[in-house]
């Protein structure tokens, strides 16, 4: 019923210092100093963290819950990541998307996978649609899906400036964005258009034109992979002035690539003076990260992994950045954009999604303990709960 964490160095993301945390059921009940001892009869588990850092569980706003891939043939369809792939990477909330393959992968499968992960203790939601236009939906419309289906929060990842896209027109994009926005108004859910941006030179041109020619607020347009090309990243930073939230993908970047790794991208974002609440980082976990040659053939295939978020945090800590500056891009900023009122903070009333970090050298990217909705999923670096079919 109750879990008491003593002597935690809490980043809420704001630095709260040394605190005790009381978890009651699925929520954080209390964060403060010197909580009185709890009577044994109330069934409390106590854990002394000895000053270890506690952060909110990470929110991964772009994950291929069903597994993505398939761009190099059927054998390259990525299998669905199972529960502990998320939790051992300190990801306690994930938002699923369909990608290039929105034909053999379906919204129904994405929805049921989100429900399965949620039943297993994670918190999972999803966007309707996929790369292509018109978007694949359950009810026949984006707005209908958001209104009818509890776990559908927006539409994405609709592809622009990419050879794999449907080459959507401005009007098509506006119609989808408007449908998502109205769906969000009706339900209080995110109501965003999550955009996959490719390597095409048109970059974010369609988004600028959409904002110029409509009354839709900037927050509706949420481009991701914005760090895949350096010039694109500058466009993305500029868009934040118009209200857009931009999403960095934590993929590996080679030394000569015209791209920014997530750590570099965040540093450049902060240096630009753009609003720090309008940047997020996601993993593209379960998706494939193909590299194409000029003829559109796959020359290399990586797979996204939830662990890239913690590795980004560890990298930035090593570069001397403050935890409270790094965390919002993977916690509170995401919760705010996606309208998850009980996520992204270690504060009373919020869901008890927490990670206790490991300070040992070489292990900062691996959380020591992870709690999701009040239940331990990782203890001492080892998953204690596994998906139904995990080995």
């Amino acid at each position: 019923m109750f879990t008491l964490l003593r002597n935690a160095t809490v980043f809420a993301p704001a630095p709260l210092g040394m605190r005790d945390i009381l978890v009651s059921g699925e929520r954080i009940a209390w964060v403060g100093s010197r909580l009185p001892a709890l009577p044994a009869e109330l069934g409390t588990q106590e854990l002394d963290l000895d000053g270890a850092i506690v952060i909110p569980g990470l929110i991964d706003g772009h994950a291929h819950l069903t597994g993505g891939g398939g761009e190099a043939g059927p054998e390259t369809r990525v299998p669905a990541p199972m529960l502990s792939r998320y939790t051992r990477a300190a990801v306690t909330t994930a938002v699923g998307v369909l990608g290039t393959d929105d034909v053999t992968r379906t919204t129904a499968e994405l929805l049921v996978t989100a429900r399965a992960l949620t039943a297993e203790g994670l918190s999972a939601w999803c966007h309707t649609g996929g790369y292509h236009v018109p978007p694949v939906t359950l009810t026949g419309s984006v707005r209908g899906d958001i209104a009818h289906v509890d776990r559908i929060i927006g539409v994405g990842e609709i592809a622009i400036s990419d050879h794999r896209s449907s080459q959507p027109t401005l009007n098509e994009l506006l119609r989808i964005a408007a449908d998502a926005h109205v769906g969000g108004l009706m339900t209080g859910k995110a109501g965003i258009l999550h955009l996959h941006v490719g390597d095409g030179v048109r970059g974010l041109d369609l988004v600028r034109r959409a904002l110029d020619s409509s009354e839709l607020p900037g927050r509706v347009f949420n481009p991701t992979h914005v760090n895949r090309r350096r010039a694109l990243f500058d466009e993305a930073i500029a868009l934040t002035a118009r209200g857009c939230c931009v999403d960095i993908t934590a993929f590996d970047v080679g030394p000569d690539e015209d791209a920014w790794g997530a750590a570099d991208a965040l540093e450049r974002y902060w240096a630009s003076g753009a609003p720090e609440t309008r940047v997020t980082v996601s993993s593209d976990g379960g998706g494939c990260l193909p590299e194409f040659d000029a003829d559109g053939r796959v020359v290399r295939m990586g797979v996204g992994d939830a662990g890239s978020l913690m590795r980004t945090i560890a990298e930035l800590l090593q570069r001397g950045h403050a935890m409270e500056r790094i965390l919002p891009s993977m916690t509170s900023n995401v919760a705010s954009l996606l309208r998850f009122p009980r996520k992204g903070h270690v504060l009373p009333g919020f869901d008890a999604d927490l990670a206790v970090l490991d300070a040992a050298p070489g292990r900062q990217h691996l959380p020591r303990h992870v709690m999701a909705r009040g239940v331990w999923h990782v203890r001492d670096g080892v998953p204690t709960r596994r998906g139904f079919f995990e080995a």
């Binding site: 019923m1 009651s24 059921g25 699925e26 009185p36 109330l42 129904a108 009810t139 209104a147």
Partner: protein, 383 residues
């Protein structure tokens, strides 16, 4: 954060004697002995409710309400307005299942779903039956199965009309398809997947249900859940026989005869674990449901341990709501605190939130915050 109910006669619904109930984060944390001072040390703002002289029971579950109001069978002006949060909660109902009836044309499933979601936002637990009277059913998506899988709040098909001129005369093979489609939807979504049947006044009574069970359809009694079974003794007899085969059955409180029909059911061998009671609110009211339950205890002297399961644990069982209908650690914090003799409602707690306090609704509907309207409507048949 915490709510502590003390000095209550606990009916879980089985009588558990005097004790305390501790609620934490919307769930029942502990039942029995609770050290109040320990709780107050933990949470100085703990909501402590003294239930001396009262019983505490699980919140009532009403499996059949026309949440958007009733169909206008004498024309559009006879449609009734939507059921309000206040009507439901002041009747002690903390879980409700919405339904469409004969009108699935102008009153829609999408509208019903929106109302269900609205009640959930207010703090109640709400679900819906999909389809309405007609066969084929008016589902939201392509089928009841898909509705059950895509829409979290759909628990099964209903209310499918049989023995009723308004029911479009469904034939047994198409009924079998509907029942099995719903059943599969339930399996795949982990929900009830039962078909809730409206039984009309026609003398055919439960014949269609027997034909479903006795034909080659692989339909089992557990898939069938008829209501309005108290129209006549002949219908009750058929319902009791159906219960013997394994179905749950439901009596509505639209008439004033709940106690009479409960007695008839029990006296004629009806299994007390398989009977539920609903309000059929729309033309009737949730208030009448509560009053009929009170009357059955106070005047007809049906003991609480017999009566309470009909509106709590039995309903939770047929709807496969594992965390509802019982006062046990781990179950949802839906509780009623009522005067032990009159059953007057003192407090209603839904998902841990105190919605009725000292007899008064303290949680008014959200929409009232931004409107200049003042609504008071009283039916000529209101008590």
């Amino acid at each position: 954060m915490l709510t502590l109910i003390e000095n209550a006669e606990i009916h879980a619904p089985a009588p558990r004697g005097r004790g305390s109930v501790l609620l934490t984060d919307g769930r029942i944390g502990r039942v029995g002995e609770v050290d109040r001072s320990a709780v107050e040390r933990l949470d100085p703002e703990c909501n402590v409710i003294d239930a001396s002289g009262c019983i505490v029971t699980p919140g009532f579950i009403d499996p059949h309400e026309h949440l958007l109001g009733g169909s206008g069978e004498k024309g559009f002006s006879t449609q009734t307005p939507m059921i309000t949060l206040g009507e439901i909660v002041t009747a002690g109902i903390t879980t409700v299942v919405g339904v469409l009836g004969v009108d699935t044309t102008m009153i829609t499933m999408a509208g019903l779903l929106a109302r269900v979601k609205g009640l959930k936002e207010e703090g109640l637990t709400a679900y819906l039956w999909s389809g309405g009277y007609n066969v084929p059913p008016s589902s939201v998506t392509q089928s009841i199965r898909n509705d059950m899988m895509f829409i979290e709040e759909v628990v099964g098909a209903g209310e499918v009309a049989i023995a009723d001129e308004r029911g479009l005369c469904p034939q047994v093979p198409e009924l079998a398809k509907l029942v099995l489609d719903t059943h599969v939807g339930g399996m795949l979504s982990g929900k009830a997947g039962v078909t809730h049947f409206h039984v009309g006044e026609h003398e055919q009574r439960l014949k269609r249900l027997r034909e479903l069970l006795d034909g080659d359809f692989a339909v089992t009694p557990q898939m069938l859940y008829p209501t309005h079974i108290a129209r006549s003794e002949a219908l009750m007899d058929e319902a009791i026989a159906l219960v013997e085969r394994g179905s749950f059955v439901d009596i509505d409180t639209a008439d004033d005869e709940l106690a009479r029909w409960i007695r008839y059911y029990l006296d004629h061998g009806g299994d007390p674990a398989k009977l539920t009671v609903s309000s059929d609110a729309g033309a009737s009211s949730p208030r009448r449901f509560y009053e009929q339950v009170c009357h059955a205890f106070v005047h007809a002297r049906i003991p609480l341990e017999t009566l309470l399961p009909f509106v709590t644990s039995n309903t939770a069982t047929v709807l496969k709501l594992a965390k509802k209908g019982r006062i046990e650690a781990g179950c949802d914090g839906d509780l009623l605190i009522m005067d032990a003799r009159s059953l007057e409602i003192r407090h209603v707690i839904a998902a841990g939130a105190h919605m009725v306090r000292d007899g008064a609704l303290v949680h008014p509907e959200h929409f009232l915050e931004t409107t200049t309207r003042s609504i008071h409507l009283e039916g000529t048949k209101a008590s």
